[in-house]
Amino acid sequence: MKVSITINGTVQSHDVEPRTLLVHYIREHAHLTGTNIGCDTSSCGACTVHLDGEAVKSCTILAAQADGGSVTTIEGLSKNGEMHPMQKAFMENHGLQCGYCTPGMVMAAIGLLNENPKPTDEEVRLGLEGNLCRCTGYHNIVKSVLAAAKK
C-alpha cells in the first residue's frame, strides 16, 4: 500500500506492505537510521519518535497508522547546524554512555517537557519510565533533562 508520512519536514511516500512498522519505514524506506531498535517488544523506548507532536514507540505502530501524519526523529532536531537544547544538555551533563538509548531518550525527554515544562526530579523519572538505559546512566539523564528545562 502507498503510505505518505512527513518526516522531519519532508514528505516521504513509499509503497510498503501493511505490516511495515513505523520504525522500519523510518530506517529502511526513509533511510534515517538515527532511530534505534532495541527490545522490539515495546518496552525499551529506543525507537521513540514524535508522531504529530507526541512521543510514541515507533516499533509498535504500523506505518499505515501514521499515514498522512508528521514524524520528527532525532535527525530533525537540530536547526541551522545547532543542536537542540535537549541534545546540548545531554552532552554537557554526561547524559549518555554507550549512546544506544540516547535518540529515544532525547525524543521522550522533549515530549515530556512539551507536556510538563518544569518537571520535578520525580516527574522526570516517571515521565521517562518508558525508556530503558542499559548502562543504567539514569542519574545524569535526569540531570540533563532538568538542565534543559531551565533553558
Binding site: M1, P18, R19, S43, T60, A64, L126, E129
Partner: protein
C-alpha cells in the same frame, strides 16, 4: 520482529468498521491503538489476516458529562482519560488509574476501548471500570446494546463482545465525592500490575475490583458485603481474595498474590476512608 502479513482496511466510522469486520469474518480484527494487538502479532500469538483500523474514527474520542454518568468514547486514548478535567472532577479514580497504564508513549496510543475489549485481567482499566459499576455500549450490525461491566468479562482475554461487535462507549457513574484509591503493585516501572486494586467508598456503599487476580478482572463483592455489614477495614480486607481465583506465574505464586490482594485492599480502603 514484524507481524505476519495481513490486509489493512481503514474505517471512517463505527458503521463502516462493523461492516468491514462482517465481510471478513473470524480472521479479521479491529485495530485501535494497537498497543496490545501489535505486540501479540509480532510474537505470532495473534495472526489476523485482516485488520480494520478504527484509530481514525475520531468522533468516538470524547469525554462528556451526561448527567448522572460520564460518557467516554471507546477511542479515547489513555492520556486523554488521564488529563480530562471532567473525569478528574467526577470520576477521579478512573483518571488516576489511566495515569498508571504503561508509560507516556503507551498512553499516547492505547485507548480505553481497546483496553476493555482486550479483556486482559492484568490491565488496569477493565478492573477500574468494573469497580465503578460502568456500563459498556457495544454496536453490531443490528444496532447498539449495553452490557454491565460485571457481565462483560467471560474468561482470559474473552468478553461478551460478538466478533462483529465494536465497543463504542463506556458509561461511568459519577463518584459524587466518594473516597477512592488505586493500588498497583509491580516491580518494574511501566509494567503491568502483579496485583492491583481499584476501590471507592461512600456512605456505606463501596466498590472494589482486583487486577491480575484470576482469568478476568475480579469484583471483590465479599469485601463490599463485609463493609456494608459494619466490618472494620482490616476484617473486610481479609475477604479480598474470596471472589478471586489467582494463578501463579513468573512474578508471583498463588499464595503471594492472595497475600498481596489482602494488603493492597486494606491500603486501598484506608486511603478511600480518609
Amino acid at each position: 520482529m514484524i507481524p505476519a502479513a495481513f490486509d489493512y482496511k481503514r474505517a471512517g466510522s463505527a458503521e463502516e468498521a462493523i461492516a468491514l469486520i462482517g465481510q471478513h469474518g473470524d480472521e479479521a480484527k479491529f485495530l485501535a491503538g494497537g498497543h496490545s494487538l501489535i505486540p501479540l502479532m509480532k510474537l505470532r500469538l495473534a495472526q489476523p489476516t485482516v485488520l480494520v483500523d478504527i484509530g481514525r474514527v475520531k468522533d468516538l474520542s470524547y469525554v462528556k458529562d451526561a448527567g448522572n454518568h460520564i460518557a467516554i468514547g471507546a477511542l479515547t486514548r489513555h492520556m486523554d482519560v488521564e488529563k480530562s478535567p471532567v473525569l478528574k472532577q467526577h470520576v477521579p479514580l478512573l483518571a488516576h488509574a489511566a495515569s498508571h497504564v504503561g508509560d507516556a508513549q503507551v498512553r499516547h496510543r492505547g485507548t480505553i476501548g481497546g483496553s476493555i475489549a482486550h479483556a486482559d485481567p492484568a490491565s488496569d482499566l477493565p478492573a477500574t471500570t468494573l469497580a465503578l459499576g460502568a456500563t459498556y455500549v457495544v454496536q453490531g450490525p443490528n444496532g447498539k446494546r449495553e452490557i454491565a461491566a460485571k457481565d462483560f468479562y467471560r474468561g482470559f482475554l474473552e468478553s461478551a463482545l460478538a466478533p462483529d461487535e465494536m465497543l463504542v462507549e463506556i458509561k461511568v457513574p459519577k463518584m459524587n465525592g466518594a473516597g477512592w484509591s488505586f493500588q498497583k503493585f509491580n516491580r518494574r516501572a511501566q509494567d503491568w500490575a502483579i496485583v492491583g486494586v481499584a476501590a471507592w467508598r461512600n456512605n456505606g456503599t463501596s466498590g472494589v475490583a482486583l487486577v491480575n487476580m484470576g482469568s478476568t478482572p475480579v469484583l471483590a463483592a465479599a469485601v463490599s458485603a463485609a463493609l456494608s455489614s459494619g466490618a472494620s477495614v482490616a476484617d473486610a480486607a481479609n475477604r479480598a481474595a474470596d471472589d478471586a481465583e489467582p494463578q501463579s506465574d513468573l512474578n508471583a505464586s498463588v499464595e503471594y498474590r492472595t497475600h498481596l490482594a489482602k494488603v493492597l485492599v486494606r491500603r486501598a480502603l484506608e486511603e478511600a476512608s480518609k
